[in-house]
Assembly symmetry: C2
Homo-oligomer: 226 residues x 2
Amino acid sequence: MQENHDAIACVKLVPIFQQLDDDTITAVASLVQDRHVKKGEFVFMAGDHADSLIIMAHGQVKVTQSSANGREQLIRLLQTGDFDGESVLFEDTERQTSAEALTDTQICLITRDDFQKLIKQSPAVAINMLNALGKRVADLEAQAAATLTTSVGERLANYLVETSSELETNDFDLPLQKKDLALYLGTSPETISRKLKQFSTSGLISQRGRNHIKLNDVDGLMMVEN
Amino acid sequence: MQENHDAIACVKLVPIFQQLDDDTITAVASLVQDRHVKKGEFVFMAGDHADSLIIMAHGQVKVTQSSANGREQLIRLLQTGDFDGESVLFEDTERQTSAEALTDTQICLITRDDFQKLIKQSPAVAINMLNALGKRVADLEAQAAATLTTSVGERLANYLVETSSELETNDFDLPLQKKDLALYLGTSPETISRKLKQFSTSGLISQRGRNHIKLNDVDGLMMVEN
DNA sequence: CATTTAACTTGACGTAAATCAAGTGAGCAC
DNA sequence: GTGCTCACTTGATTTACGTCAAGTTAAATG
């Protein structure tokens, strides 16, 4: 029962399975498949048949989408507890996005059929899921508005502040290398480099080594204009 | 019972209430409030307490979000059958967006409490809602990727092609005036004007009068690069 | 019809940031 | 150690597009 025990632990991590009674959690855990993905491998790729919901048990995964002109955009970074595959809820669809593991990663899978059964049995799961999706829609709307109306400098500063508050320290290593950070912010690595230097010389941050950053003036960062 | 009859008709229009049995539809209709909003009036504004889901029965509404620097972004255009207010599913939140009627508009309202009851009673509604939200997330992701990786010209050309296919003709009036179209595409009215002229002179489209456009070469438009 | 107003067009100009190109430094194999 | 690779930096150049400003057209109002 070691495997089952792991599955239960994994399930309990996930926001959409919070506040369920033990029986339901056990039921969910029995539907879950574990999978390990090594750094650099893909969890799924655009064009794959989308038939399962993916839940992050441990690790870091970047989800990207390529547009017609072949340019790649980092849509989101999956961390422990995040899930992806909303589209799994539709009838047959293909994945529009690709997901590459940035670190060794542990994920849980639930198939569409199992998930739909689960929802029919447990309205609580449905409501949790609706909440999660509603929040995600609101986030995406806010992000869409921000990318079209703010400069790279503002977005980068904002990213630093957010990351700092997620990590609960203002002295941290960037979780993404600059290439990926550039994709995420919709800019180029060169520009990231320049902006960070600019923040350094104006005293807003200090840089040490490859990826280490210390925020000196959070309020100042939030007022950056370029 | 005229009012109830209207409510049933309205409810039947809405994708999330499709494929329900008559009893459920009647139940939904009894929860719905009608509201009329005149052109130029606001359906809701940022900062309002969000406590109901809004369903478009007739008309056109633009939903906008303002970012920190005060610039406005058109998030989406609500048409008949669309709904907005996913955030209604959370506990107390404020609206992040504002919604202004572009034409005289008829909407249906359902309060959070009523909607949550509905979901608990009818798993079918929950699943429809999850589908709708999942689709919306996928759309937003695609849109976010497009805005960060493509030029204004590409986005405009793409918008024209999409609009044409929605309206099922390639000879139509733009549903938005250029000011709003600019907000939607994340650009300025001047640039829209210039790009359209460019498309005209290269024969891709013909313009007639204020807002009338005819697409001459859809394939050409889809290959626009600037 | 005349007058006002607002949407739109067109031109001139400035600039943020992409792109191109040439380093620099760090990690890794041998 | 020496050499290789890859992430990153820094500089030079180009460009798409925003902004400001001055028309022009067309709808709205009296």
